[in-house]
Symmetry: C2
Subunit: 395 residues, 2 copies
């Protein structure tokens, strides 16, 4: 699946995205929280490293809103960019591919190969668009479980994810307690706040008022897509990914390609150019309908709405939990991680919590940081050792 030849040290080398059709036997279906079913469901995924004989070294990586199955390596020798978490996955890296078999799949509802609103609806032969059923974080975990079953892995060493990926990882610990040893939740939250929902509402509105949105039916050649709305959605979201201080240090009030103010509606400031670039480059790789579905899934995520449900949800949790946050993350503030840790601890779950310093805000979870990476490395090593020398407390 991957070859390390002629790749830089620490790289998983050239990789390929694979595809599998699940629920394709004409009988089984993916049952969704909304009540609808989907079948068949295609899943795009990549793997790095080698599954060991007793299948005990597999780690599932869950990606965030705009991620893909392509988490590490390059698709061909001239590939300009590696996978989205390449700095964390590879030989000698926290997700050490000399030790672990790492899996990453595109989320349900996505636009990178897994069935989503841009896929063809088998009943009509046309793209789903907004006829795609509403999906939840639990639905995403459910499809991943189907993939892991398909790969014949009875129990994952860990499920790990940052941001929305952390929500999916948490959902695994709640729904499939015996199918994972450890759960790593980074820069995430047990639920969206009113402010988070508000930002998502703006993003969806930007897409839906784009005249090219056309009720979600904008697929096909020569059909204009709602790129302005999607770019706006990305611009707003991008502000929330960065810390105020990080933006200040990176851009401040620096002008872009000019020495004087334009006194016109040019992009005078470097931060404006940067943000416009983020918006316009995003639309080339992402689908607006997926953006709608995924933000809604995040809005809906709320596994602990009240103490009674919380107790019920946490009762079965067996995974060792690692919760990580970053001090300048204001999208999912450290206090959200602490709230999750408190609930886990109060319900006598095995939980480790670390907060790291970073100037990068929410984006910090994607970026190199020695202390953060060392923490992940140590935790995963410990989990790996436990598979060899199971402790008494091991369920």
């Amino acid at each position: 699946m991957n070859t390390a030849e002629s790749s830089p040290p620490g790289s998983v080398g050239i990789v390929q995205t694979r595809y599998v059709e699940l629920f394709s036997d004409g009988r089984s279906t993916l049952r969704l929280d909304c009540g609808a079913t989907l079948a068949p469901v295609r899943v795009a995924f990549e793997t790095y490293g080698t599954l060991n004989a007793d299948k005990s070294n597999a780690i599932l990586i869950c990606h965030a809103l705009s991620g893909t199955a392509h988490a590490a390596g390059r698709h061909h020798a001239d590939d300009r960019k590696p996978g989205w978490w390449d700095n964390f996955i590879g030989p000698g890296k926290p997700f050490d591919t000399e030790r672990f078999f790492v899996i990453c799949s595109n989320n349900l509802g996505g636009c990178d190969g897994t069935t989503g609103p841009s896929s063809l609806d088998p009943t009509t032969g046309k793209p789903f668009g907004l006829r795609f059923p509403m999906i939840t974080i639990a639905d995403m975990a459910r499809l991943q479980k189907g993939l892991i079953d398909h790969l014949g892995i009875p129990r994952l060493l860990a499920v790990a994810g940052g941001s929305m990926g952390g929500m999916i990882a948490l959902q695994w610990a709640l729904d499939y307690p015996n199918a994972l040893r450890a759960c790593v939740i980074i820069a995430s939250t047990p639920r969206l706040s009113a402010q988070n929902i508000a930002f998502n509402a703006v993003a969806r509105q930007a897409i839906m008022v784009d005249p090219n949105f056309n009720g979600g039916d904008y697929y096909g050649e020569n059909v204009p897509r709602p790129v302005n709305g999607l770019a706006l959605a990305r611009m707003v979201a991008h502000i929330t990914y960065l810390s105020e201080k990080g933006l200040h240090e990176k851009f401040g009030r620096q002008l872009q390609d000019r020495r004087e103010l334009s006194f016109g509606f040019e992009r005078d400031f470097a931060v404006e150019s940067y943000l416009h670039y983020q918006g316009s480059s995003f639309v080339n790789k992402f689908d607006a309908n997926t953006y709608l579905y995924i933000t809604k899934a995040m809005d809906y995520f709320d596994p602990f709405p009240d103490p009674e449900t919380t107790a019920k949800q946490l009762h079965k949790v067996a995974a060792r939990m690692l919760v990580i946050s970053f001090d300048t993350d204001w999208r999912f503030d450290t206090s959200r991680s602490k709230e999750l840790v408190k609930m886990l601890n109060w319900h006598q779950k095995n939980v480790t919590f670390e907060q790291f310093r970073s100037i990068h805000g929410h984006d910090a979870f994607l970026l190199d940081d020695p202390l953060y990476m060392e923490s992940l490395t140590s935790f995963l090593k410990r989990m790996h050792m436990e598979t060899r020398h199971p402790t008494q407390s091991d369920p």
Copy 2:
């Protein structure tokens, strides 16, 4: 101008907006920072209270982005809403109209009666649109100075404003040091941060990609206006006006008019409905071009770009300065007010600083709070007393 009969106690009663044409003699013009000139320039303004014989009791209120000249009282007996700062202006209130003569004018570039992009360009007879010249905070202060001169007031007791109004008040202290005794700068900043500029960039982009924007030429009957873009701009900005905690306490994850999630693209959450309401009601009273011009003026505001300029700018300042901030304001964080206070203090200026607790974020400057209001009241009383018993330090 105003009658208190049959109005609630503390109200300035029924008021009228007045209009004056400045720079209308065919010779004088309003010179703008961008190099252009405007003439004539109409100014919409209101006044409350009575100017005293020696004209020493006048206070100019500067409004923020979306404010108007209508700061207090009601326009007619059935008026549903009073002016935007009615809770602060009136008999017995901080801006006590039994003591002070309070003036508020619509800012240059506005859309409430003062010349702005929706006004007719006298050279073409058509609305300016984007042919309106770029304006700055200093230009806004310059036009206000024209109004104050027109009213025959040699020296204001105070210039006061919140948010962008605070920037205009600060500009008065820098540009017309002998024309004001005191300067009140609330929930404001000496310059926008990269994050502030980023949010403004999103807002402008939302307006400019609206297909009804049409390069700013959307005036006239039966011409559709860029209401979707303007509503989006307002929605984004509105999130920044409120604190995370305030949004949480007000809305949390409460559903809107439903007991269950819709599993559709409805507005499930109360915070979504609220935000959409804020956006859609804003477009009925505000002009998209004005939004573009005013956000750009805020972006450009930077009176203290380097130590040398700061020293030069602050050298002449003679006003007593009161700087006020709120602990949950993340649009213009308290640290920005402190930076201004530090600069003023280091240049040996007379400055008072208070930070108040509030859950309301940036919006706190508009809202009732006993400690905040008492602080304003005391400061203004002291300024008023100094006009009667000038101290030695009085310039």
